[in-house]
C-alpha cells in the first residue's frame, strides 16, 4: 500500500481553484480527480474509490453536508476534509458530527491542504 499514490477527490464549484490545486497536487505525486459540483462528485464516486476528499461546504447545486452524508454512505473509508468560509465554524462542526474527518477555513493555501491530507492518510494507514 505504501508507495501507491494518494487518491484525492477535489470537490468545489470554483473551477479555477480546483484546476490549479489539481495541477499542484499532481506535481506532488497525488492521483487527483476533479469534480465541479456535488452531483458530479457523487457520479464519480460510483466509478472510483478515493482515499481522501476535499469538499467545499458551500456549493451552488447541493449543500455540502448533504453531499457528505451521501459520501459516508457510499464510501465510508474515504476521509473527507471540509473547506468552510470564515465564520461558518458551526457548519463545520455539524459536518464533523456527520462523519467528516476534519475541516479547514478558507482562505487556506496549498501547503496547508497538503499537510492535512498527508496527516489524514498516515493516520488512516496506522489504523488500518
Amino acid at each position: 500500500m505504501e508507495g501507491d499514490p494518494i487518491k484525492l477527490l477535489l470537490v468545489d464549484d470554483e473551477r479555477a481553484f480546483v484546476d490549479v490545486l489539481c495541477n499542484r497536487f499532481t506535481r506532488k505525486g497525488l492521483a487527483v480527480t476533479k469534480a465541479y459540483s456535488g452531483t458530479e462528485a457523487i457520479r464519480t464516486l460510483r466509478k472510483q474509490d478515493f482515499d481522501v476528499c476535499i469538499l467545499d461546504l458551500k456549493m451552488e447545486d447541493m449543500d455540502g453536508i448533504e453531499v457528505l452524508k451521501i459520501f459516508k454512505k457510499m464510501l465510508p473509508s474515504m476521509a473527507v476534509i471540509m473547506l468552510t468560509g470564515h465564520g461558518s465554524e458551526r457548519a463545520a462542526r455539524a459536518g464533523i458530527e456527520e462523519g467528516a474527518h476534519d475541516y479547514l477555513t478558507k482562505p487556506c493555501g496549498f501547503e496547508e491542504l497538503l499537510a492535512k491530507i498527508q496527516e489524514t492518510v498516515s493516520r488512516e494507514e496506522r489504523s488500518a
Partner: protein, 574 residues
C-alpha cells in the same frame, strides 16, 4: 420652531385641562346652588308666611275681641242706661281697666246720627254724625269696624260700632280704638332691620303706614290690591324691585274679613340673608377651586407637554439609533458576504502564483510548455484580480447608495443660506454671527442637504453652548490645494480635552437628558468622511471651540464600472 410648536401644544393642554376640570365644577356648582337657593327660599318664605299668618291672627283676634267687648256692652245695657254720661264713663273705665287704654272713648248715637252721650277725652258731646260715612255704614249692619280716618277730632283713629235696638228703634254704641296701641300690634311684626308691615284698605289707602324710606310705589300697591285673594286665608308672596333699586319680598294677606290688607315687606337680601351668605361662601369656594384647577392646569399642561416632547425625543433618538444600527448591520452583512466572495479569487491568485513557483523549482522550468503554463497562470491571476475589484466595487457602491443626490454646490451660497436660517435663533441667543469667504471659491459636487445638515448641526451646537450669555460665531470658507476648508469658530465655554476625543462618537452628549441625542456630530462625521473629507475640533476652555471641515473638491467617480476588464493603463486608480 420647535419652541413655537412646544408653546402652542402647552397652551392646548392647559386649556384642555382647565376646560375638563372647571366645566364640571361650574356645572355642578350651578345646579347645586340653584337647588339650594330654591330650597332655602322656600324655607325662608314659609317662615315669613307663618310669621305673617300669626300676626294676621293676632290682629284679627284683637279686632274680634274688641268687637266682642262692645257687643257685650251693647247687649248688656239699654240705650237709656248708656245715654247717661256718668254711667257711660264708668263703663269706659271698666273697659280701660281690663283692656288697658285700647279704648279711647265710647259714644252712644241715636238713629238720627246725634251723639246722645260721650265718654272720653275729647269734647265731642252732642256731635252730629249723620253725614259721616261710618255712621251710615254702621246703621246698615249689626256691627262695623271702620277704616282709619281723622274724624271730628282731627286725629287718625278707627271705630268699632255696634247697632242695637231699643224700643224698636236702632241706636249705635261706638268705641274708638287707640291707633297707637293698634300700631304697636302691627309694628310688632317687625322682626328685622328691613322688614315692616302696613295695612291698606281696598281703596289703597294706608291704615297703618310703612316707614317713609320703605314705602312701596303706587303701581305696586295697585297690583297688590288688584289681584284678589279668593280665599281670605291665603297669603300672597311676590318679589319686586322698588324705586331705589332694592329687591323686596312682599307678603299680603286679608284682614278684617277682607276689607283690609296686611302687607309685610322685607328686603330680599335680609330675608334670604342665610342663603346669600352660604351662596357667597360657596361661590368663593368654587372660585378658589377654579383657581386651583387653573394653576394645576398650568403645571400639568407644562409637565405633560415636556413629558410628551421628552418621550418624542426619546422615540426619535431610538428610531435614529435603529436606523443607524440597521444601516451598520446591513453594511456589515454585505461586507461579510463580500469578504466571503473575495476569498475565492484571492485563493486562486495565491495558488496560481504558488503553481508558478512549483514549476520554477524544476531545473528545466524554461520549456515552451512551462512558458505557456506561466502565461495561462498569469492570465488567471489577472482575471481573478479583476474579479476582486468588481466585488469591492459592489460594497463601495452600496455605501454610496445611502447618500442623497449630488449636485454642484456653491459653498458661499450654502453658508449664507444656512446662516440666514439660523439668524433668528442667533439673535435670540445673543450671538453675533459673521462669515468670511476667500474670493473665487470653487463649487463642490456634493449633496446639498447633507452639507446643510452638517453646517446647521455645528451652528446649533455653538448656539446651545453659548446660551444664555451669547457671544460670537464665525464661519470661514477657504480654498487650499484641492480641498475646500470650512471653519466654524465660537466664543463659547469650550470643550474639555477629555471630551474632545469623544465628541464624534454616536450618542455622546453633555446635554441633559432630552435635550440632545448625541447623534449630531457623529452624523456630521459620517457625512463628511463619506464625501472623502475630514472633520475635527479644537478647543480651549474659556476661549471657544473651532470645528474644521476639509472637503475634497474632486470626488472619485467610481459608480458601477463593473464591465472593465483591462486594468493596466487606465490610471486614476487609487
Amino acid at each position: 420652531m420647535a419652541d413655537a410648536v412646544h408653546g402652542s401644544q402647552t397652551r392646548y393642554w392647559i386649556l384642555l385641562i382647565i376646560g375638563a376640570t372647571v366645566t364640571p365644577l361650574l356645572l355642578v356648582s350651578i345646579i347645586v346652588l340653584y337647588q339650594f337657593r330654591e330650597a332655602h327660599q322656600k324655607r325662608a318664605t314659609t317662615h315669613l308666611e307663618e310669621l305673617v299668618q300669626k300676626h294676621k291672627q293676632n290682629i284679627d283676634g284683637f279686632l274680634d275681641a274688641k268687637l266682642g267687648n262692645i257687643r257685650m256692652l251693647a247687649s248688656s245695657f239699654s240705650f237709656e242706661e248708656l245715654r247717661q254720661e256718668e254711667f257711660l264713663r264708668e263703663r269706659l273705665r271698666d273697659l280701660q281697666r281690663v283692656h288697658e287704654p285700647v279704648f279711647v272713648d265710647l259714644g252712644v248715637i241715636d238713629e238720627s246720627g246725634t251723639q246722645a252721650a260721650y265718654a272720653g277725652p275729647f269734647l265731642l258731646g252732642h256731635a252730629d254724625y249723620s253725614d259721616a260715612s261710618w255712621f251710615q255704614n254702621a246703621m246698615q249692619r249689626e256691627y262695623f269696624i271702620s277704616d282709619v280716618f281723622p274724624g271730628l277730632r282731627g286725629f287718625p283713629h278707627f271705630i268699632i260700632a255696634v247697632r242695637s235696638t231699643w224700643n224698636g228703634e236702632p241706636w249705635i254704641l261706638r268705641a274708638t280704638i287707640d291707633l297707637v296701641a293698634f300700631n304697636d300690634l302691627v309694628e310688632d311684626l317687625r322682626n328685622s332691620h328691613t322688614g315692616s308691615a302696613f295695612i291698606l284698605n281696598r281703596a289703597g289707602e294706608f291704615q297703618i303706614k310703612p316707614p317713609v324710606d320703605l314705602m312701596p310705589d303706587r303701581e305696586f300697591l295697585d297690583e297688590l290690591l288688584g289681584a284678589d285673594a279668593g280665599d281670605r286665608r291665603e297669603i300672597r308672596v311676590t318679589q319686586r324691585t322698588d324705586q331705589a333699586g332694592r329687591r323686596n319680598i312682599y307678603l299680603a294677606t286679608a284682614l278684617k274679613g277682607g276689607s283690609w290688607r296686611l302687607v309685610y315687606q322685607q328686603e330680599a337680601n335680609e330675608a334670604f340673608a342665610e342663603f346669600h351668605s352660604a351662596r357667597n361662601v360657596s361661590l368663593l369656594a368654587v372660585f378658589l377651586a377654579g383657581l386651583a384647577s387653573v394653576a394645576v392646569a398650568f403645571l400639568l399642561g407644562r409637565k405633560t407637554v415636556s413629558a410628551i416632547s421628552e418621550a418624542e425625543q426619546r422615540t426619535q433618538m431610538i428610531s435614529q439609533q435603529m436606523v443607524e444600527t440597521g444601516k451598520l448591520a446591513s453594511v456589515g452583512e454585505l461586507a461579510a458576504g463580500i469578504a466571503h466572495e473575495i476569498n475565492n479569487p484571492v485563493a486562486i491568485m495565491v495558488e496560481e502564483a504558488g503553481w508558478i513557483g512549483d514549476i520554477l523549482e524544476d531545473d528545466d522550468w524554461g520549456t515552451p510548455e512551462n512558458l505557456q503554463e506561466f502565461q495561462r497562470a498569469l492570465q488567471q491571476i489577472k482575471t481573478q484580480g479583476t474579479r476582486c475589484k468588481q466585488i469591492t466595487h459592489k460594497l463601495l457602491s452600496f455605501a454610496r447608495k445611502t447618500d442623497e443626490r449630488t449636485q454642484e454646490v456653491d459653498p458661499r451660497a450654502l453658508v449664507e443660506e444656512t446662516v440666514a436660517v439660523s439668524a433668528q435663533r442667533a439673535k435670540y441667543a445673543n450671538v453675533e454671527m459673521s462669515t468670511v469667504f476667500e474670493p473665487d471659491l470653487p463649487t463642490i459636487r456634493a449633496s446639498l442637504s447633507e452639507l446643510q445638515q452638517v453646517l446647521l448641526n455645528l451652528i446649533n451646537n455653538a448656539l446651545d453652548a453659548m446660551w444664555p450669555n451669547g457671544g460670537t460665531l464665525e464661519i470661514a470658507v477657504k480654498h487650499l490645494d484641492d480641498d475646500l476648508w470650512i471653519h466654524v469658530s465660537d466664543s463659547g465655554p469650550g470643550i474639555p480635552e477629555a471630551n474632545l476625543e469623544r465628541i464624534f462618537d454616536p450618542f455622546f452628549t453633555t446635554k441633559p437628558v432630552g435635550k440632545g441625542t448625541g447623534l449630531g456630530l457623529s452624523i456630521c462625521y459620517g457625512i463628511v468622511t463619506r464625501m472623502g473629507g475630514e472633520i475635527d475640533a479644537s478647543s480651549e476652555i474659556g476661549s471657544g471651540t473651532e470645528f474644521r471641515i476639509r472637503l475634497p473638491i474632486e470626488r472619485e467617480e467610481t459608480e458601477a464600472d463593473g464591465q472593465e476588464t483591462a486594468v493596466a493603463g487606465s490610471g486614476g486608480e487609487a
